[in-house]
Structure formats: C-alpha cells, structure tokens
Symmetry: D2
Subunit: 353 residues, 4 copies
C-alpha cells in the first residue's frame, strides 16, 4: 500500500470524483454524483471526444482535462471513475493504481483476461481500493434475496434462478464490440449468482439462439440464452436471458434452499391496479434503464464514498474478474456444446463473442 492511499480523505467533505469517459453510462454517473449523492461530487472529467466532456462539465460544473492522466493526477480528485470504452479499462486502472487512488470501474473489466490479470497485479501491489460497477448488487430487492440467504434463512442453497431480460437490444455496432451477450449482459447474472450463493462457479453449460434480430446472429452473437452454473458449494444456478422483453425490464433472482425460498420481483411503474370484466390490469414494468435502476446506482455511489474512506469494497477487482471467466466458459460451452469447467479457462483466453 502506498503512502498516498493512506492520506485521510477530507473529513466531512464529499469525495471528489474524476470521471473518465462521458458516454451514456459516464453521463449518468456524472449526474448522480453531482446532484443526487451528497457524499460525492464531480470535479474533473475527460473523454477522448472532447465535446462529450465539455457537455458533462457544463451541466454539472466540473473541470475538463486534456487527458485521462491529468484527471488521475489532479489534486482535487480523490478517486477516479473509469467509465470509458471497455478496451481502455485496464490501462486506466493500472494508471490509477500507480497513482495510488481508489478506483470505480465499470463492467466488464475487459474482454482480455491476460490484460485483466496484469492490471489486477498492479492493483494488488498498489493496495488501492477498487469497486466494480455491478450496480444490481445494490438493488433493494436483489439485496433482500442475498441478505436473507446470508442470514441463513433458506438454509443451504440448492437452486438459484435468475431471469434477466432487457426491453430492447443495444445497437448492432455496440454489440459487435461488446464481447457478446455473456460479457455484456449475462455478466450481471454471473455476478448475481456469485453474490447470492457466496460460492464460486465451477462448471458452465450454456445454450442460446438468435430469436430477436438476425443481425445479432450475423454479428456472431446470441440474443436469447439459457445457462446452467454449478457452484463449488453444490448449488446449481439457472439463468435465462433475452435481449428483448416486450414488457420492459424483467430482472428477477430466486434462491431456494433446505429451509425455504427468497425471491426478488419486478417493480411496476405504479403500485396500482384496475379490475374490469376481463380481469385485472396493472401498470407496466419500467422500460427505461434509469427508471428501473436509479436506487441501485445511488446506493452504489454512497457505498463507493465509504470505500474511499476505508470501508472494504463490496465488489472487488476479483469480483470483476470472476464473471469474465464464467463468460469465457459460457462461450466455450456454446461452441463445443458441452458443459465446461471454469478451470479449463486459462489466463490466455480472450472473449471473442
């Protein structure tokens, strides 16, 4: 651990965040940091596309820097949020580690496992705090599931079911560089499976199909998937995914064990109902990402503020690496049509969708 990480964060002041990457997710984080979470504030931004950085800086009163390195080095930056494109995450994390500052990193860490391992070695050596952007861990409903499992309320975990379906697929251009459904979308579910069971995944069986859009298949990807995970503690997790649910965000987690069952359900846009002669109607699920997950993002940033101040990170760098390995095993399983053990994934592997 370097000296610099030991410097006390200013007591009673918000943690000053430098933001790298002002695209869709970067802009969202900028707004939350600036206007919604008292414990953090946005002081510095950078984006390879300067107008994006200027826009965010103008909206939220931060200073634009000419390079990521300048943001990382800035005196008024206590911690760095890496929200740039996936292929830059590990280089930037390495640089933040070398600067001895805490880092928030968006998922997936990278599509290149050797690169991840090199960066994690730097993190380890620098002793910096890292929190990976698995925001769903902070969703109140999913967290209720995990907390009751952790409290022993369902006894030993036997089965976990995760449904994860988005309202619409991202643009094909995004899909092409995303690492495919397992690295881009199911990665949240792989993380959730580890989070809920508190147990590593040892084997992966994945199958899938192209049912939503043939262009997704032409890009070498799947849009519909069913995955079975075996955990070290004997639990079995089933995941199902679709890139397009006509009815909005559908993300549910259920854990079943020797003593009972606990499940998260989807919030509707309003807690109301109508009864007519055809039966009951209720308002739809959220179709907007932000509407669905704002509470989890707020809790994520509140937590990061405490991590910067010394609390243990609830989503470590290794928590970022493990789902990547599961994703690699899932692709191998699809290609070879067989269950694949995660230990078959060697450090040289790169996600190719």
């Amino acid at each position: 651990m370097t000296e610099s990480t030991m410097e006390p964060v200013r007591i009673g002041e918000p943690v000053r965040i430098g933001l790298l990457g002002c695209g869709r997710i970067g802009k969202l984080h900028a707004e939350l940091i600036s206007t919604r979470v008292a414990e953090v504030e946005l002081t510095a931004v950078y984006d390879v596309y300067d107008p994006a950085a200027q826009g965010v800086a103008g909206d939220f009163g931060a200073r634009v820097y000419g390079s990521a390195s300048e943001v990382i080095a800035a005196d008024d930056v206590d911690a760095v949020a890496i929200c740039s494109s996936t292929d830059t995450h590990m280089d930037l994390l390495t640089e933040v580690a070398q600067a001895g500052k805490p880092a928030f990193v968006e998922k997936p860490l990278s599509l290149d496992l050797p690169e991840v391992d090199r960066a994690l070695a730097e993190v380890e050596s620098a002793g910096i705090q890292v929190q990976v952007g698995f925001n769903r861990r902070f969703d109140p409903a999913h967290r209720y599931v995990r907390d009751r499992v952790a409290a022993g309320d369902i006894g030993d975990v036997h089965l976990v079911r995760i449904t994860s379906r988005d309202p619409a697929p991202p643009p094909i251009d995004y899909i092409k560089v995303s690492g495919g459904i397992f690295a881009d979308m199911t990665i949240h579910d792989f993380d959730m499976a580890r989070f809920v069971t508190d147990s590593e995944v040892t084997e992966v069986y994945a199958t899938g199909a192209v049912r939503v859009d043939p262009a997704i298949g032409e890009a070498g990807d799947l849009d519909t998937a069913a995955i079975t995970l075996t955990h070290a503690n004997g639990a079995i997790t089933q995941i199902d995914n679709s890139r397009q649910a006509a009815y909005g965000y559908d993300q549910r987690v259920e854990a079943f064990g020797s003593g009972g069952m606990v499940a998260s359900h989807n919030p509707h846009t309003a807690t109301a109902s109508y009864m007519g002669d055809a039966g009951l109607q209720a308002p739809p699920l959220p179709h907007f990402f932000i509407e669905r997950y704002i509470p989890s993002y707020l809790a994520e940033w509140e937590t990061f503020a405490s991590v910067v101040r010394g609390a243990p990170s609830p989503v470590t760098a290794n928590d970022g690496r493990a789902p990547l390995v599961i994703g690699l095993a899932a692709w191998k399983s699809v290609r070879e049509n067989r269950p694949v053990r995660t230990e078959e994934i060697v450090a040289e592997e790169i996600v190719t969708g």
Copy 2:
C-alpha cells in the same frame, strides 16, 4: 333441554339431514350434503312446490315428504336444514325446536323481529343447537382475518373495512320480498363486523343510492350503500356495498388495530398473469356464487355435523338476530338521515325495506 336432544347421534355415521325448501339455496345445500361432505347425508326433503322436492330427491337419493312436519318428525332425520322462503323460517324453527332436533337455518332469520324473538324463546326453552347460515364465517380468507384478530396479532381493533359487491342484482321480484339490501346482502357484512371484532354494534349510520337499476329504487330499495358501525369496544366498521360489480364477486374484510392490520383478498379464477407492453393482466374474479364460496359452504356443513354431535355452535340463533337489528337500524338511519343507536330498535320492529 329435552330428552330427545340427548340421544346420541349414531357414532361414526353421517348426520342425516332433512331439508326444508328446495329452491336455489336449498338445491345447493342438497348437493353439498349429498356429494361433498362425508359427515352429513340427505335423507328427507320437502318443498311447497312438490316438483322442486322431487327433483332434488331424484338427484340425490332422498325421500320426499308431504309436509315440513313430516320431515321434522322423520326417524331418519337427525337434524333439519331450513332453507325455505324467509317468511317461513321462524315457524319452522319453532317446530324443529319443539321436536328437540338441531337446526340449520338460512339467513336472514326473518324480517319480523317479534317473530324472531318468539322463535328464539322456543329454541332457548328446547335447548336445541342452532347454526345460522352465515357461510362467509367459514371462508378461509375471512377466517384468517378473524383468527389473527382473535389471537391478538393486531392488538386492539380500531377500524374495520368491509367491501361487499356482487356481480349482479337478483331479480326485482326477489328484491321486493327480500327486506331490502341491508337484510338481504349487507346482513353478511353486519355479521362479519361482529365476527371479526367480537363486539356488538351500538350505532349505525347508513347512506345509499340507486345507481345500478332504477327498478330497484322503484321497489323501495337501494343498490349502493355505505354504512358506518360503532362497536361496544370502540371499534368503527365501514362497509360499502354494490349490487353490481362488473368484475365479479368482490368481498374483502380488513381489520386494523394498535399492532397491525390483517385483510382478506379476492381469489381470482386462476393464479396466473400475463405481461405485455401495456402492463400486467390477470384472470377475473369469480362471477358465480358457487365458484366463489364453495369452500365456505363445505366447511359450514362439516361444522354443522360437529354441532349436531355436541360442539358449540359457531353461529348461534343470537348471531342470527343481531345483524337483523343492525339492518333495522340501517334502514331507520337512511330514512331519518342520522346515526341510529341499535338500542332504539325495539322488539316490535319489522323490516320494510
């Protein structure tokens, strides 16, 4: 208590029921007694309209008698079910009491309070068991409400809410002789209020309207009503009624107290749901009386069998009388547009709708 009531019912054999009245509700009870409840069997039937009696007897293998008195006296009748028209209930109950046999009596006991009091005096003197047909007390959901209140789980009862809406009004000819909405329909809710709070009603404020069918108003009745009851223990009950809910049987009870709240909800025709882009849909509520309340009727008859064998009646003759008084107070409240104390209802009162 007469000798005859002390004769042991045949051990291990079903209780043999003589049925008086083979109309809609009589036929329903005949079927349940004969085919659904092992503890009772139908041996004798009578109806002023002989073909009705013949039909029931044919369907369920009972013997038709030429008069109610013959059914009451029959050797193979252990107990009598009085399901004839309301104006005959009290004369028949008197005769059953004089025969020393247990009686099941449909609601309302009568529309004529002095008549009720004379019959109840006979019941008292004969010491027979009486169970009044408030089947909703046996509904699993409403019973859950009462049981948790009785267990002290909500502490002292402060407020009770009862919603009672039927899918469609009965025929106008029936309405004309029914005693009006308070004696025919709300009477179940008056009973439920006493059942849940375990406390007598001291004051009644009722208001209502004709919103469903002007013919109901022309018959001197209401089809929409809102009633407020004050109980001896300080609880306040609000009831709302409609003769016509487009979406089926809507009967819910909610009790609120110092420690919490307990409520019954409507069962749907299937526990299923559909999600589309317009939101959630679920199957309708039952539109058929029998579909909604079969489990309560089955439990009602199982209970009556045990009452005949000596268990205390859970719905005594007095439990039949009390809601009638509340109904009389409700009509007085509507006519005089003021809260009416139940003690204002004197024994001479007759329901005139």
Copy 3:
C-alpha cells in the same frame, strides 16, 4: 391579470424560487428544489427563526433575507413557496398576489375560512397562478386511479374508499395548533376524494375516537376517524384514518363504478418475498415520509415550474379552500353527531379542532 405576471419567465432557465419558512417541510422542499428538480432552483429564503434560514441557505446555496417581503420582492425570485406556519399562509399569499408572482402554498391554506376568502379575492384580482401543496395528487399510484376514472374506464363513479394511516402521530404541541386531524391529515383525503371523483362534496358524516394516545384527546383532537362524503354527482366516499399504523405509511385509494374498479396500493420498501413453512413474508412499507412520497414531491415541483411558465394549475387556490370546508363540516358532524351539509358551513367559520 397584472402586467408583471405576463413577463416571460427566462426561457430555458430554471424557475427561481424564494422560500418562506424553513421548518420541516420547508427544508424538504429546499433540498428537492436545489438538488433534485432541474426545472427549479432555490435563490432566496426567509424564516422567522433566522438560524433555520441560515442552515437551509448554507446547505443549498441560497441568499437569506431579513423579511418575507424582501424575498417576495427580490429580483431573482420568479415565484414564492409559502411553507411557513399555517397561520401566516394567507397574509403571505396576499402579499405575493400583490407582487404579481406565482405562489406555491402548503396545505392547509389556513384554519380561518374568512381569511382564506379574503386572500383568494386578492389572488383572483391579481390573476396570479397558485398551486396548493397536495402532493399526493402527483403520486404515480393515486394518479393512475384518477386517470383511469377520468378516462371513463370505470364508468360512473359509485363508491370511493380512501385509507390514510400514518406511522406515528406528530408531537402534541404540533397537534394543538394543527386544526385537528381533519384539517391536518384528512385534508389530503378530502382533496383526493374531489380529485378522483371530479365532483364537489355536498354532505359529510364523521365519527372518530381517541385510540392511539390519550394526550391527543386531551388536546381536543381525535386520532382515529371514519368519514363518509356524499358528492354532487352521487358518488359516496368512505375515508378511514389513524395517526398510528404499526406497519408504516398506509395510503390507498379505490374508486368503484358502473364499469369496474381501480385502486392504488402501498409500495413496499423492496419488491421481494420470502417463503418458509409459516408462509410468505415481504418487506415492510416505508416508515419515513420522504421515502414514501419523494416521487410525488418531485412531480409536484416539475409541475409547478410549468405552472409558473403558464400551464394551468392542477391544484388551484379553490382546490385548497374546498377541503377546508369539508374539514369544518366534519368537525361539526362529530360535535353534533349527524351528517352535515357543506352548504351549512358559512364563510365565518373557523376550525377549532
């Protein structure tokens, strides 16, 4: 309408709010205005207790003024939020009207009906926009109820049921000056009844009790109440209130009509459930006011910004007056134990709890 109200609000800029009153509700509004709603910003504050004003100003970057008049007159105040103690509302509203600026006024407008009428005459004469702080109109679930009623989805409205129970009573000192339960708490429900039915209230029957805390009774107030409202369009509304629900905020609205039923339900703190051998468990309802109603407050301020820019107010000064009259009728009904017509409430009336 005066000249000044016609001056265009600065296009594309947030509406600048001057806040009068920095107590509990004032502080909440200050935070929402400053940090959560982009369309408004806080520029000026005043409180009779200067440290309260200083605190809010410090937290949210506004300027403290030495008097309400200075805030109202300030150049950088486009509209005024009146969140001071109830007895000052009408004098301040009068002054804002005379300054020709739009006003947001907290509920209740006043406990003194003549005073309200004098102030409303000034509002009328000045032609200013007024929005009264009935935030529940902006709650997504209650709004769903009203919107489906307004769309004709339940046909003619026959019955409305409103449950409104708070987690805990306010301090006795507050209760003593609150105008009592009907002016302080039920006033939201009176407003909701008008909102959902779109029809004035013509008659009120109210009853109640002291069940939660004898000190509330000693202060001349009730803590438990049941109210029946008759509307001009024939609808009947039943309301029940308690100052103390052990399980959190319980606020539900249900409208029933010729074509169906629509209802709002309580949101839980998480959409999750647990199943064990004793049955199902789900997380509690919110116990914190803010947790329960934040979305409604946000929508309230977004709406006020558009009102300042010329949209019709969805909660006019008259919408603030009408529930006050219903509250006066409710107290009269309790005192005289009879239904009271709202036309019996004359302009001279003052709420005395």
Copy 4:
C-alpha cells in the same frame, strides 16, 4: 377401430369406470369419480391386494372383481382406469385395447420403452381412446399459460421456465422402483414443456445433486435437478426440481416470447395477508397434494367422460410416451455429463434411474 368402441355410451348417463389399482392414487381417483364428478361413476374395482379393493368398493359402492381381466370385460364398465403399479400399466393397457374400451392410464406409462411401443401398437390397431394422467394440464393456472401461448398472445415462444418442487420426498422404497426423479417427478414438467410450447423436445441437458436425503443418493437417484430442453421450434425450456420445499407445493410455469410473458403462480391456502412492523405475512402454500391439485383432477375426469363419448383425447398415448423418452435422455445426460439428443434414445432403452 373395432365395432365395440363405436357402441354409443349410454346417453345422459354417467360413464361407468372400472378401476385397476386401489393404492394411493387409485383411491383418490375412486373418491373423485364417485363423489365429485357427475359425468362418471365407479362400478368395478380390482387390486392385487384384495383388502385394498374391498376398502374402496365399500367406501364408494363399487363391485370388487377377482382379476383385472374381469373388470375390463364387465358389462357395466364403459371405460377402464389403470392406476396399478407402473410395471403393470402396459400389459393392462394392451388388454383394454383388445377389449376395445377407452382407457385412462396413470403416469408414467412404463419404465420400459419397448414395452410402451408394443402396447401403443395395440392401442393404435384397436383404435381406442387413451387419456394419460398428466393432471397438471388441467390446472387452471397452468392452462391459462398454455391457452394464452396457443392464442398467440406472447408471439413466438423463446423461453420456458418450469419450477417443480414437492413438499417432501416419497418413501425410499417407492423411490427405488420409481424410475428415478426424471421418470417419477420431472415427467410432469417434461409434459408441461411439450404442452405449453406445442413442440417436441430435441435435446436434453440435465444435471442434479443429492441435497435432501443421502438415502436417495444411495438408491441411485437425485433429489435436486436442473434440466435444459431444446425444442424443435427453437424454444428453450429450463426446469428446476427439488424433492423437498419447506414451504409446500411450488409448481410454476412461465412462457416468454416475442410478444410478452405469461406465468402461473402458486395458490396460497387463503387469499389473505397480515401487516405488522416487520412487514407483510401471508398464509402458506398447500402442503397436501390433494389440496393443491383437486381442481385439476376434477377437470381431468370431466374431460375423460367426454373423451369416452368421442371427443379427441387431450393427452394421448403418444403424449405419455414422449416425456419418457425425454426422461431417458435426461438420465443419459447426467451419466455422460453432456447434452443428449432425444433421437439418441432408441426403442430398446429402459429407465434405470
């Protein structure tokens, strides 16, 4: 089709059923046939253990025969219900087919595929009607799922999820002869997958564990399982099973497609809830098989009566065979730890658990 099957069933009379096998499921069917479904009646019974047959005959008024053949041949038997031990099903079905009478056969048809094929050839040649006892197809909630899928309401089916967990495992002695979890328990889910998707299964991946009782493992069986099915139409079904859910019968089906989602939920023992400061509670799920599935059994027998009268069977002999093949593939998948195509299962295969 033989002459005898063309003989009209007695018009307007109940179908007379001869019952083979008076064990647990046979007794249940005897009671339902005799007392709950007007369209059928029980006239003849046989069991290898004569006292079992005598008991059922005594309870429900049927005649006991000395052999299955005598029941099959009896003049007052219109149709035969085969509810004996699994290893006798196909011989008896063959004999019923040769007698030209309709047959109801319990699941699983057999554990011996060649035997099934020989019997089905006889059925085909005789042209008799066969209905297999997959009662869950008649459950109102599961049927709602299938009906909305069949109506096109979710568009093309992409994913199906089936949860099937029983309250407690059967006795070990039963498990030893049951053909294992896939033939005994999951067979219902295999049937449901075909029923809901209306598409054959082409590939099976199964994994499982012994988590409930080591004795189940010692008997060569699993008590916890996760299965993935690929259908001919491209749909993917995930099934999870447990022999022991602490909270009762948990059987849910969910179908997801291009246009939406439809799901069946578990009925609770009462539609009621309690709210206290710890949150919501609701009554448990049924723990008794009969309580959970009575409505489906009633509908099953009503349907069989119409099948005997000539309606097409909704659960044909082939619908009985297909899940057996899937079960064989599931066992092969577990043994070989790979996905197995159903076409790999050749007619010689026998279930060995």
